[in-house]
């Protein structure tokens, strides 16, 4: 596996390399500046010093700021998620009180999936694309999937509730935390019980005179059940989801763009120590919750009747 092939400024001419470690015909079309290498002795530590210098921006000077530029872009530290101000049909069952999980806490193979589309022929800046993407996020999703956006929109620390189609007429209620957001990107991180453990970064950047919109996932299946599901068509379904989303985003700007895909298996190992995540499985819990709806309805009816007496 060539880790350097995951640079955003590379293109993959092939089709989706579903479920393989082979990324196909990946070719580097550009590099970010020059790389210089030099060796110099360090008398103080009598250790060999090797220096790699990646081209620095034209300002040329790197100064340490008093507070980080990204301070306002990250979510506040939270131990568990809290859902607020959601419509009544948004089920926060698998979100409230859950911890977020990164790709290191999941079970299945770790994948980096990148989907991107060039918005050729229109004058739109990356910031304008991201503003629209944040504001109209649910409208780009395939039909039947719902994203209950927080009242304050996609902003760092906000929690959204999702209702996803998972096949066979079943639905999955889960959510996401807005982990990071700035003018040209935002990142959603998944909670325990979600199909995926990890994060999805939506970004836009300029390349060769056009703005490119991109969704990049760094994920692994959260538990063994989801890993089996992903292998049995789930990956394909998920890829189609993001291809649809980017196509719809491009169409929003009047572009009939071709969505390109690159998939890299970052870690082929299964993390068996995380197999216990299955107890949080949102699909199982949503199914139990749905099957229990008649009983809840009868109980509520009984309570209402009791109150009237």
């Amino acid at each position: 596996m060539d880790m350097t092939s995951s640079s955003p400024n590379e293109s993959y001419d092939g089709q989706d390399s579903q479920d393989t470690n082979d990324v196909g015909d990946v070719r580097a079309t550009d590099t970010t500046g020059t790389t210089e290498t030099s060796t110099m002795p360090d008398a103080a530590q009598t250790s060999e010093v090797l220096e790699t210098v990646q081209t620095v921006q034209t300002s040329g000077v790197i100064a340490t700021p008093l507070s980080p530029r990204d301070a306002a872009n990250w979510a506040e530290m939270v131990s568990t998620l809290r859902v607020a101000h959601m419509p009544s049909d948004a089920v926060s069952l698998n979100v409230e009180g859950r911890r977020v999980v990164g790709p290191l806490q999941g079970f299945g193979k770790m994948w980096q999936k990148t989907f991107w589309v060039r918005l050729s022929g229109v004058q739109v800046t990356p910031a304008e694309v991201i503003t629209t993407w944040k504001e109209e996020f649910p409208t780009f999703w395939p039909k039947g999937n719902r994203f209950f956006k927080p009242l304050t929109g996609i902003a760092p620390g906000e929690v959204a509730v999702l209702s996803l189609k998972v096949g066979g007429g079943m639905r999955l209620s889960t959510g996401v935390l807005v982990l990071y957001a700035d003018d040209e990107s935002f990142t959603l991180m998944t909670p325990q019980g979600h199909v995926l453990a990890g994060w999805i970064t939506f970004s836009a950047y300029e390349e060769d005179g056009a703005t490119v919109a991109q969704a990049q996932l760094l994920i692994r299946a959260n538990d063994p059940l989801y890993e089996i599901g992903l292998l049995m068509g789930g990956h394909r379904q998920e890829n189609q989801f993001w291809i649809h989303t980017l196509s719809a985003l491009a169409a929003r700007f009047g572009v009939n763009g071709i969505v390109q895909t690159r998939q890299i298996c970052i870690d082929p190992r299964l993390q068996w120590r995380q197999a216990g995540n299955i107890w949080q499985n949102a699909a199982v819990r949503t199914t139990i919750y749905t099957l229990g709806a008649p009983a809840r309805w009868v109980r509520q009816l009984g309570r209402r009747g009791g109150n009237q007496l």
Partner: protein, 118 residues
């Protein structure tokens, strides 16, 4: 495409430890710099890599993703990845993204080296 605004320096402390000093921004654009630094720090392979974040100025979620892929690469070689020099802000980000569960954070280079040698 913006250029990377990062400088990475590799120091070989001894046979067991390589330190990568990171100065500037860690974002998607730092990928080549980080992987080049890793390749140099891994020649010959040490037992542990230490990331020095003392001069880290900016990191976004793509930068965190880079650290995850670096960690996987290091772990697959049965090596360790340690860190020091993180400000309180970046320590919170490591906790939030749960990266701190896989990359041990130390207060100083001396502590990180001692842990890497253990």
């Amino acid at each position: 495409m913006p250029q990377a605004n990062v400088k990475m320096t590799v120091r070989r402390i001894n046979d067991s430890i390589s330190v990568i000093d990171i100065q500037g921004d860690v974002s998607a654009f730092a990928e080549h710099a980080l992987m080049d630094a890793y390749t140099q720090a891994n020649t010959p392979p040490p037992r542990a890599f230490i990331l020095n974040f003392t001069n880290l100025e900016y990191m976004n979620s793509s930068g965190i993703g880079l650290l995850v892929t670096l960690l996987i690469r290091v772990n697959r070689q049965k090596q360790r990845l340690l860190a020091y020099g993180l400000s309180e802000h970046y320590q919170h980000i490591f906790e939030l993204t749960r990266l701190n569960e896989a990359i041990s954070i130390y207060n100083s280079e001396a502590e990180a080296i001692a842990a890497g040698m253990a």
